[in-house]
């Protein structure tokens, strides 16, 4: 007879399983919260593997336009800005899906992911990053971290699952 059938037919066994369920719940009642990170006081360090905001190294770019061609969401386009001879990529974060194909296809490693994703803009135009100084080539930093948020590292733990340890 399966456990489920024993629970249904034997009231004593059912009582035992009720008690087991309650005991399991009680055991976790007083455990400290495990997974919640109190953003923005604490910011998760996403690590350099993370596919976050994309940064352009304009000096390396050879204007091959492969990044604009591979973009599945048409977020990346080539722009020819006044006063420049070559075209450079610009990105529209309204469209970007962070698949990272542009970073992977760049033959000169002019594009790179940054481990930052908590960026907000005040208007829709602000989400379009043209290849201008301080825009697409800017060095990203989490705004929460800039305002004093402490970085926490994600660690795997056998007891607690995920642990967030301040660095």
């Amino acid at each position: 007879m399966s456990i489920a059938d024993r629970i249904r037919r034997n009231p004593l066994y059912s009582l035992k399983m009720h008690a087991a369920a309650i005991a399991t719940g009680l055991r976790y009642l007083f455990a400290k919260p495990r997974m919640t990170v109190r953003y923005p006081e604490y910011v998760i360090d996403l690590g350099r593997n993370y596919r976050g905001m994309i940064r352009l190294h304009k000096d390396k770019c050879i204007s091959c336009s492969l990044c604009a061609q591979v973009c599945p969401a048409s977020a990346m386009k080539m722009y020819k800005l006044p006063g420049e001879k070559k075209m450079y990529p610009g990105i529209n974060y309204q469209r970007c899906i962070f698949c990272g194909f542009c970073v992977d296809i760049c033959p000169v490693n002019a594009l790179e992911h940054t481990p930052v994703h908590d960026i907000a803009e005040e208007d829709m135009e602000g989400m379009i990053y043209l290849p201008l100084p301080g825009r697409f080539d800017r060095e990203w930093k989490s705004p929460a971290e800039e305002e004093g948020g402490r970085k926490v590292k994600v660690e795997f733990d056998e007891e607690e699952g995920l642990k967030h340890e301040p660095e």
């Binding site: 061609q69 599945p72 795997f156």
Partner: protein, 421 residues
């Protein structure tokens, strides 16, 4: 859909007095049966929190469900048609969004079908890495379904626990691929990133944690007498019906049919791994839960073996690696991240057709691609497991009590965006 024609004009009383006007939940009397009892038609969704992105039209005789019709299509995004306008590579991020909780498993068969047409085979290490991510995804997909099943019957502990523990597998996938859900990891020719350093230790810790937690799950939810009372012998799907209706995945295996596309198709690293396909005979809602628990255990067993047996070697097909300059090849070897050749944007499979199937968390997914030799497919047909299983709403609910509906919904793990594509 509701069958408007079957309702005669005298029985159709419309929205009469006594109609409850609660958002997302309304019913109306449909007339009387022979004994003078009123039949009711109840609309659950599409705004109801437990209905998902769909609507269920239920007809009730007292507390007994006469008929339940799933009204699907609310999240239809024309993925098949959209893929005809995209190059082969660009369809991968698109198809991921059909089942965002199981994105590796839903794109893998597509990539395999494209590989068949291109005549490329992924290196062995890439196959192992694909298997690794697929199993991580399978666990998080099952945990997601588990959490929803819990909240459907108001067991919010199960909901919180399984969504919290799913975070561990999402984190593991993030460390491997760089993205939490939309990994876009499996591409024609191999995978995009090599195994990061220290991944094995992290995965083993996660497995040991999860094994312990599964025991807690059994105590607090699965073998909780309250759950057993609500799931046992509810929504029984017989073995005969399961195969007749074309049910796939854990729902099929809970009815005693030993079928899994991982075994049937022998793709990835599965033929070299030792694992079991959990099968149960009962076919009720509880059996469907238990099969998923067993599958999580088997997936963890697969992950352990994959990490032990992971062969050395390239993770991307040599055919494409030769197309990138030597300096970049060195970069790939140093960083463990792929560099795509420029020709990869316009992959051009020769004219022909290819089919592939794979096992997702929800069941078997099937792709049929027709190429005319162009850079874009002529036609991509996707049959997702949720779409095959949606028939169960009508089949299993007939004759059940109304409050069994959330239990049946939860146990068949229907995922509307996947069914609608």
């Amino acid at each position: 859909m509701t069958s408007q024609g079957s309702r005669s004009s005298e029985t159709d009383m419309g929205y009469g007095p006594g109609t409850i006007k609660e958002p997302g939940f309304r019913y109306r009397p449909m007339g009387r049966d022979a004994e003078g009892m009123e039949l009711y038609e109840i609309f659950i969704g599409p705004q109801h929190p437990a209905s998902g992105h769909m609507r269920i039209v239920v007809r009730l005789d007292g507390d007994i469900i006469v008929n339940a019709d799933p009204d699907i299509g609310y999240v239809h995004r024309t993925m098949e048609k959209l893929s005809e306008t995209r190059e082969y590579l660009k369809s991968i991020p698109l198809f991921e969004r059909a089942t965002i909780i199981d994105s590796a498993n839903i794109t893998w068969p597509y990539v395999r079908a494209v590989e068949q047409m291109l005549g490329v085979e992924a290196p062995l290490r890439a196959k192992y890495l694909r298997t690794l991510l697929a199993e991580i995804n399978r666990i998080s997909s099952h945990l997601y379904g588990f959490g929803l099943t819990g909240i459907f019957i108001n067991h919010s502990t199960m909901y919180m626990w399984s969504f919290g523990d799913r975070e561990i597998w999402v984190q593991l996938a993030e460390e491997l691929t760089g993205a939490r859900l939309t990994h876009t990891y499996i591409i024609p020719g191999g995978v995009r990133r090599d195994l990061p350093q220290g991944f094995k230790e992290k995965a083993l810790k996660a497995i040991r944690y999860m094994e312990r937690r599964l025991e807690d799950y059994m105590k607090i939810f699965v073998y909780n007498p309250v759950t057993v009372a609500r799931f046992r012998e509810v929504g029984v799907l017989t073995k005969n019906d399961a195969s007749r209706l074309g049910i796939v995945g854990p729902n099929l295996r809970a009815s005693g049919v030993h079928y899994d596309a991982r075994i049937a198709e022998k793709y990835g690293a599965y033929p070299e791994l030792d694992f079991e396909i959990p099968v149960m005979e009962e076919g009720d809602s509880l059996a469907r839960l238990l099969v998923r628990i067993e599958e999580i255990k088997q997936s963890m067993r697969i992950i352990k073996q994959v990490l032990d047996k992971m062969p050395q070697g390239p993770f991307f097909a040599d055919k494409y690696m030769r197309l990138i300059p030597p300096a970049l090849r060195k970069h790939v070897a140093e960083t463990g991240r792929i560099k795509l050749p420029g020709a990869f944007i316009r992959l051009k499979p020769p004219a022909g057709e290819a089919v592939a199937r794979g096992e997702m968390g929800h069941g078997e997914v099937f792709y049929h691609i027709v190429s005319t030799g162009d850079t874009k497919p002529y036609r991509v047909r996707i049959i997702t497991p949720a779409f095959r299983n949606v028939v169960l709403f009508r089949h299993l609910t007939r004759g059940a009590r109304f409050m069994d509906l959330p239990v049946i919904y939860g146990s068949i793990d229907y995922f509307p965006p996947e069914g609608d594509r």
